[in-house]
C-alpha cells in the first residue's frame, strides 16, 4: 500500500501559548484509506488536519502528500487539488448550489461545458437532483442537504486527497447516520485518501479504516483499526476516551467470520425423529438444524422433546415437528447486527447465511469468542 499523506515529527507552537498545540506527531495515511483523527475538542486534531493543505504551517517537521513536502508546493495550487469539507459546510451564501459546486473547477480554469457537466455529476453523486437543487441558494437547504453540497463541492476538482473537519458534526443524529453511510458508499467507489476529524468515537469507529486517537497537545496515543483500538486500547487515555461501553462498540466493528460459527447437527426433513435424536445426542447438543439437500435452511427441531411426546413414537419425520427460523444475518454483517437479531427474536442463536447458503449459527458463546478473535486471541477485560 502506497503512503499518500505522511506526517514526519510535526510540531506546532503558537507564540502566545506555552504548550505545543501539536507535539512530535507522526502518522501515515495510505492511498485510498479513510483515516480518522479522533480525540477531545481542542486537542489539536483540526490543527493537524489543516497542515495538509497548509492552512496551518508546522513549526517543525514535515508533511508529505504523495511523497512531496507540502512546504515546497505553492499554497494555492496545493489547496485546489485537496478537497476540503468543514463543519458548517462553509457554502457561499451568495452563490447558488451549482456555483458553489463549480468553485474549484472554475479556479482550475475548466471550460463552461465541462464545469456544467461536472456540477451535475457531483450533485447526482451526493444524491441531490440537479434539476431541483442546482438553482437553490444555501439558505434554502436543510443542514443535511447543505453538507451534501459541501461534499460535492470538495470533490468537484477530483482531488486525490479529501480533508474533512467534523463534516457531519452539526447534523441531527438521523441525518448524521445517513450521511455517514452515504459517504462510506461513495468512498467505496471513489477510493479517495481521506483524513476525517471528529470528536465522536462512534463516528470514528463507523467511518475509519484506521483511527488515530489524539490527546491534548496533538499527541498520538494510538493508530490502528477500529477493532484493535476498541479491543486493545494502547494507553489508559485511549481506554478512558473510548469509554466503558467500548465492548458494545466493538460489536459494531467486528465482522462475522465463518470460523466464528457454531455448526449444530444438520438433519434432512425426511429424517425420522428417532434418527435425529441419535444425531443430536452424538453431538452433545439438544437441537438440530433442518436443511434441504441443496443446503437451504428450512427450520430447526428439538428431537428430545418430540420423542417424549406421547403422540409420537419416534417414527415420524422431523418435517412434522420442524419449527421455523427467523431472519438470519449475512456473513458480511457485524457481530452487532447478529446480536441485535438474537435479541429481536429472543433466540439463543441466529443463523448466518452467505447469500442463500446456510453456514452455521452464531450463539452468545461464539459471539464472545469472535470478539476475542478480533483482537488476537487473548481475552481482554472489557
Amino acid at each position: 500500500m502506497t503512503v499518500m499523506i505522511s506526517f514526519e515529527a510535526v510540531s506546532k507552537h503558537y507564540e502566545n501559548d506555552a504548550k505545543n498545540a501539536v507535539e512530535n506527531f507522526s502518522l501515515d495515511v495510505d492511498e485510498g484509506e479513510l483515516s480518522v483523527l479522533v480525540g477531545p475538542s481542542g486537542g489539536g486534531k483540526t490543527t493537524i488536519l489543516r497542515m495538509v493543505n497548509r492552512m496551518v504551517e508546522p513549526s517543525s517537521g514535515r508533511v508529505l502528500v504523495g511523497g512531496q513536502d507540502v512546504a515546497k508546493v505553492d499554497r494555492v495550487e496545493l489547496r485546489r487539488r485537496t478537497g476540503y469539507v468543514i463543519q458548517q459546510a462553509g457554502l457561499f451564501p451568495h452563490l447558488k448550489v451549482a456555483d458553489n459546486v463549480a468553485s474549484v473547477p472554475r479556479l482550475l480554469g475548466w471550460d463552461k461545458a465541462r464545469v456544467h457537466a461536472r456540477v451535475n455529476d457531483m450533485l447526482d453523486l451526493v444524491g441531490l437532483n440537479p434539476a431541483e437543487f442546482a438553482g437553490r441558494y444555501p439558505n434554502e437547504l436543510s443542514g443535511g442537504q447543505a453538507q451534501r453540497v459541501g461534499v460535492a463541492r470538495a470533490l468537484a476538482g477530483d482531488p486525490p486527497v479529501l480533508l474533512m473537519d467534523e463534516p457531519f458534526g452539526a447534523l441531527d443524529p438521523i441525518a448524521r447516520a445517513r450521511l455517514q453511510q452515504e459517504f462510506l458508499a461513495l468512498q467505496e467507489r471513489l477510493h479517495k485518501t481521506v483524513m476525517f476529524v471528529t470528536h465522536d468515537v462512534d463516528e470514528a469507529v463507523v467511518m475509519g479504516n484506521r483511527i488515530a486517537v489524539i490527546s491534548q497537545g496533538g499527541r498520538l496515543q494510538q493508530y490502528d483499526t477500529p477493532a484493535q483500538v476498541l479491543g486493545r486500547p494502547a494507553t489508559s487515555f485511549v481506554a478512558d476516551f473510548i469509554g466503558a461501553d467500548r465492548g458494545l462498540r466493538r460489536l459494531a466493528v467486528t465482522p462475522i467470520e465463518v470460523g466464528d460459527l457454531y455448526a449444530p447437527p444438520v438433519v434432512s426433513p425426511k429424517t425420522t425423529v428417532a434418527q435425529a435424536l441419535v444425531a443430536v445426542e452424538a453431538s452433545g447438543d439438544h437441537w438440530a438444524a433442518v436443511a434441504s439437500e441443496d443446503g437451504r435452511l428450512l427450520g430447526w427441531v428439538e428431537p428430545g422433546q418430540v420423542a417424549s411426546a406421547p403422540s409420537d413414537n419416534g417414527s415420524s419425520t422431523v418435517e412434522r415437528y420442524m419449527r421455523p427460523v427467523g431472519a438470519g444475518v449475512s456473513l458480511d454483517s457485524s457481530l452487532k447486527a447478529a446480536f441485535a437479531e438474537m435479541l429481536q427474536q429472543d433466540a439463543a442463536w441466529v443463523p448466518v447465511f452467505d447469500h442463500d447458503r446456510y453456514l452455521g449459527v452464531l450463539t452468545p458463546d461464539t459471539l464472545h469468542a469472535a470478539l476475542r478473535r478480533s483482537v488476537g486471541g487473548e481475552p481482554v477485560p472489557v
Binding site: M55, R79, Y84, L91, F92, H94, L107, Y137, N139, R153
Partner: protein, 225 residues
C-alpha cells in the same frame, strides 16, 4: 405655515409652468451633485473600509476623522473649503458632500466585511482562492448588503445636504428655496421643498429595488422539507 416667507397663495402655478425648464435643470443638477458625491464617497470609503478591516489599528483613526467631518455643520464645512477650492465652485460643494458620505459608507463597508461568515472564508481559502479572488468573489459580495444599506442612507442624506450648497451657488433645488426667501415669494420654496422630498423618496425606492434585484440570496429564505 411657518416656513413660507410671506402671505398669499402657497403656489402660483403660472410661475411653475413658466419656469419649468429652470426647475427641471435644477432638479437634474440636484441629482448630479448627489450621484457624484455618493459615487466618489463609495470610491473612497470602500477601499478605505477594506484597508481598515484588514488593518484593525487603522480603524479608530479612520472612523475618528470621518466622524469628525460628519459632525461639522454643513455651512461651516463649506466655508472651510471655499478658500481652498473656490467659492461658487462645484468642487467645493462636492468636497463637503463627499465628506458627509464617508462615515456612513466606511462604517457600513467595515461592518459588511466583518459580517462575512468565517466558515465561508475558511472554505474559500481551503479551496485555493487567492487573497484577491477571495476578496472579489466572496468577501465583497457578502459585504454588499451592508454596503448598499449604507449607500441608501448616504444618498438620502446627501439629497438633503445638497440644498445647503446653494449658499455657494450650487445646491440644485436649494437655489429655489434661497430665491424664494430673497424674493419673499412662496412658490419656489414650496416647489424646491416638495421636489427634494420626492427625490429622496424616489432614490430610496430605487436603491431598495437595486438591493432586491442584486441580492436575491438575502431575500430567498425557505427551508427545504
Amino acid at each position: 405655515m411657518g416656513v413660507v416667507a410671506s402671505a398669499g397663495p402657497i403656489v402660483q402655478w403660472s410661475w411653475v409652468s413658466s419656469e419649468r425648464s429652470m426647475i427641471v435643470s435644477l432638479l437634474l443638477q440636484h441629482i448630479e451633485l448627489t450621484v457624484i458625491a455618493v459615487a466618489i464617497g463609495l470610491a473612497i470609503a470602500v477601499p478605505l473600509g477594506i484597508f481598515a478591516w484588514k488593518m484593525p489599528v487603522a480603524r479608530p483613526p479612520l472612523i475618528g476623522v470621518t466622524g469628525l467631518i460628519y459632525v461639522i455643520p454643513s455651512v461651516a464645512l463649506l466655508s472651510l473649503f471655499a478658500p481652498l477650492t473656490g467659492f461658487f465652485s462645484i468642487t467645493t460643494a462636492e468636497v463637503a458632500l463627499v465628506g458627509y458620505t464617508l462615515l456612513i459608507l466606511l462604517r457600513n463597508t467595515i461592518a459588511g466585511l466583518e459580517s462575512v461568515p468565517a466558515d465561508a472564508q475558511d472554505a474559500a481559502q481551503g479551496m485555493g482562492y487567492t487573497p484577491l479572488q477571495e476578496l472579489m468573489k466572496v468577501q465583497l459580495p457578502l459585504a454588499l448588503p451592508a454596503i448598499l444599506a449604507g449607500v441608501r442612507v448616504a444618498t438620502v442624506t446627501t439629497i438633503g445636504l445638497v440644498t445647503v450648497t446653494a449658499f455657494i451657488g450650487q445646491g440644485g433645488l436649494g437655489q429655489l428655496i434661497i430665491q424664494g426667501f430673497s424674493e419673499d415669494f412662496n412658490t419656489p420654496i414650496f416647489v424646491g421643498l416638495v421636489l427634494s422630498v420626492l427625490l429622496a423618496g424616489v432614490a430610496d425606492a430605487l436603491i431598495v429595488g437595486i438591493q432586491r434585484i442584486s441580492l436575491p440570496w438575502v431575500r430567498r429564505r425557505r427551508l427545504a422539507s
